[in-house]
Amino acid sequence: CTEKYAEKYYNRPDVQKALHANATKIPYKWTACSDILNRNWNDTEASILPIYRQLMAARLRIWVFSGDVDSVVPVTATRYSLEQLKLQVKIPWYPWYVKKQVGGWTEVYEGLTFATVRGAGHEVPLFKPRAALELFTSFLRGNPLPKS
């Protein structure tokens, strides 16, 4: 429900002034999501998997995570998609921990790390902020997620 607070806050003239925003007087209100853009999106790639192959070839660090109680882009969708990359397993599947609790499960492949976040919905850092920060820390350091 917190996006309703954002709709109020970011439409306040004093907030817009402090942010140096809307100086040109945009002819519509600030909204969290634009229906016009969403309805008129006319260029979308059917699959991003070929790009992953390009990015892995360029040796970029790639992490993919999934909150496991999201039913909009759920964990099974991500797993079916990633499976198509047919990656070699580097560190086999294991539960990762945050504050002595299972944060989720993870597997490290050659070129890509996949992790689930237990109990998190679509917006993982909103529902599981501590676990998300742990995930982000490991990602930035280039370390596998903690095993204990």
Binding site: Y10, A21, L60
Partner: protein, 260 residues
């Protein structure tokens, strides 16, 4: 630092005292159309010069990184329920990185275009190209970030934006004297592949007992998950599953109470 200083946020209404610097403003990405993208940089709480730059993109398509990434997820502030002020998020990602929230494409949040038709014919390709243009020009405004390690992160439909922007950067770097120091990407609950995403979604609904066996089998037999647009018969099955079988739930977090 003139341009940078013009973008400095002195303080947001109702903001608690903080130790980090913030900047926000517009970067023009297309002069002819008058397209300008809005950003909000919240620097790391300590030693920002030694920390990487992390670009956060929200999906939708058409949703705001400031609404979601900054204000609900990884940003330092949370908005209170009356929208009268802000309080701190103790798990903000700016504890360990400089966070750049980008509103992309034009039409999202405060980002805009003077050519109104831009709102009706946008898509993945323009989003990636404008976002790259933004980053290159933003670096000119903040030259101290030019050699900095860059990571791009995001969620949902940003499963398209993030890899596409990364690919755009690699192409740019191949022909540039001043390459961007992109190190990696991270995406969550990311839209990845139409066919396998749809297959996995229906599988999830069934395996989590959100739909009946009958609806599951009908969806699997009638819907062609390769298609961009579903048949009417398939659409009505989706509607039946959501309206009659899911019930009043939050599809984005199936065990949380819905937001009424």
């Amino acid at each position: 630092g003139g341009d940078e200083e013009r973008d400095r946020i002195v303080g947001l209404p109702g903001q608690p005292k903080v130790t980090f610097n913030q900047f926000s403003g517009y970067v023009t990405v297309n002069e002819v159309a008058g397209r300008a993208l809005f950003y909000w940089l919240t620097e790391a709480v300590s030693n920002p010069l030694s920390k990487p730059l992390v670009v956060w993109l929200n999906g939708g398509p058409g949703c705001s990184s400031i609404a979601y990434g900054a204000s609900e997820e990884i940003g330092p502030f949370r908005i209170n329920s009356s929208a009268s002020g802000l309080h701190l998020n103790k798990f903000s990602w700016n504890r360990i990185a400089n966070l750049l929230f980008l509103e992309t494409p034009a039409g999202v949040g405060f980002s805009y275009s003077n050519k109104s038709s831009d709102l009706f014919d946008t898509g993945d390709r323009r989003t990636a190209k404008d976002s790259l243009k933004f980053l290159v020009r933003w670096m000119d405004r903040f030259p101290r970030y030019k050699q900095r390690e860059i990571y791009i992160t995001g969620e949902s439909y940003a499963g398209h934006y993030v890899p596409q922007l990364a690919r755009e950067i690699l192409t740019y770097n191949a022909n540039s004297k001043h390459p961007l120091n992109l190190k990696g990407i991270m995406v969550g609950n990311a839209v990845t592949d139409n066919y396998y995403d749809n297959l996995g979604t229906v599988m999830y609904w069934w395996s989590h007992a959100m739909i009946s066996d009958k609806t599951y089998h009908q969806l699997m037999n009638i819907c062609d998950f390769h298609r961009q647009k579903n048949s009417e018969e398939c659409e009505s099955l989706y509607s039946y599953a959501m309206d009659r079988e899911f019930g009043n739930i939050d599809q984005y977090n199936i065990y949380a109470p819905p937001c009424n």
